[in-house]
């Protein structure tokens, strides 16, 4: 029995769904950000696994690009979160519903 690429794919799919559940379930904006990071990580694993299966280095290059975009996203997102917190003193997304119709 050897580890095939399908194992990595299934594992990444499960992790991605857990990240999606976290975004839907949690109210703390910080934990929602962490769930998004989890989803990005699982997609990275898919890229690298598929790349190694097909013998293409591009899978790893794509994973590196995803990491760069994730780093930029975290920087801006956490800055927005801190800005919201300084104004409203809460990180709970249910409390930030002023634009709700």
């Amino acid at each position: 029995m050897t580890v095939t690429v399908a194992w990595y794919m299934v594992f990444a799919a499960v992790l991605f769904s857990m990240g999606a559940a976290g975004v839907l379930l949690r109210r703390n904006a910080l934990v929602m950000f962490m769930s998004i990071e989890l989803m990005l990580n699982s997609v990275n694993l898919t890229f690298v696994a598929a790349g190694s299966e097909m013998g293409l280095i591009e899978g790893q290059v794509a994973a590196l690009f995803v990491m760069v975009v994730a780093a930029a996203e975290v920087t801006v997102g956490l800055a927005i979160l801190v800005a919201v917190f300084r104004r409203r003193s809460t990180a709970n997304v249910d409390a930030l519903s002023e634009l709700k119709g």
Binding site: M1, T2, V3, T4, V5, A6, W7, Y8, M9, V10, A13, V14, L15, S17, M18, A20, A21, L24, L25, R26, R27, L30, V31, M34, S35, E37, L38, N41, N44, L45, A49, A50, G51, S52, E53, M54, G55, L56, I57, E58, Q60, V61, A63, L64, F65, M67, V68, A70, A71, T75, V76, L78, A79, L81, V82, A83, F85, R86, A91, N92
Partner: protein
């Protein structure tokens, strides 16, 4: 066989970390759970011969991003209790159905178009050293690499702008008006 044992062990560890991240009341515990997931991810990268990506995963995610998260958690305050009252009825059950359905759809769709064995491509030995990654990164993907430089610069400028001209200035102006 060792590969199977390693995979099972670290997959279990990563799933446990993800569950901790999802269920922990305290955001610091959530951050620790995510850290465990990221560390086991780098083990998977090493198993897939992606050595450079594994190193970058440790440096960028486990190092920089998690530190940033912990800074913000400490800044916002760890004592703030999360209010778990459901504003949307049956939100928890809807979430479970949606997430489970998502995983099922991804896995089922993957079975239809599964990548079949490396012998179909004939190049199973891929070595993700810095040299090989850099050959591709600075050879074929130079423009994309340069645009990430712009992306990071713009993100850093935006963060600085948010910190300098952020809502405190507006907020204090409002309170002055109110007074």
């Amino acid at each position: 066989m060792t590969e199977v044992i390693l995979f099972g062990l670290f997959a279990a560890v990563a799933l446990a970390g993800a569950v901790v991240m999802l269920t922990a009341r305290n955001p610091v515990y959530s951050a620790m759970g995510l850290l465990v997931v990221m560390l086991s991810m780098s083990v998977f990268y090493v198993m897939l011969n992606a050595h450079f990506v594994a190193a970058v995963q440790l440096l960028v995610y486990a190092g920089a991003v998690m530190t940033l998260f912990l800074f913000v958690i400490m800044m916002i305050g760890v004592d703030t209790k999360e209010d778990n009252a459901e504003t949307i009825p049956f939100q928890r059950w809807i979430t479970f159905v949606v997430a489970g359905g998502l995983a099922a759809v991804i896995i089922l769709a993957g079975r239809q178009a599964w990548i079949t064995g490396s012998e179909a491509f004939g190049t199973p030995d891929l070595n993700g050293t810095i040299e090989n990654v850099a050959d591709s990164l600075f050879g074929n993907w130079t423009i994309a690499f340069l645009s990430t430089v712009f992306l990071l610069t713009i993100a850093a400028l935006g963060t600085i702008a948010l910190a300098l001209f952020g809502p405190t200035a507006v907020g204090s102006a409002e309170t002055e008006e109110g007074a």
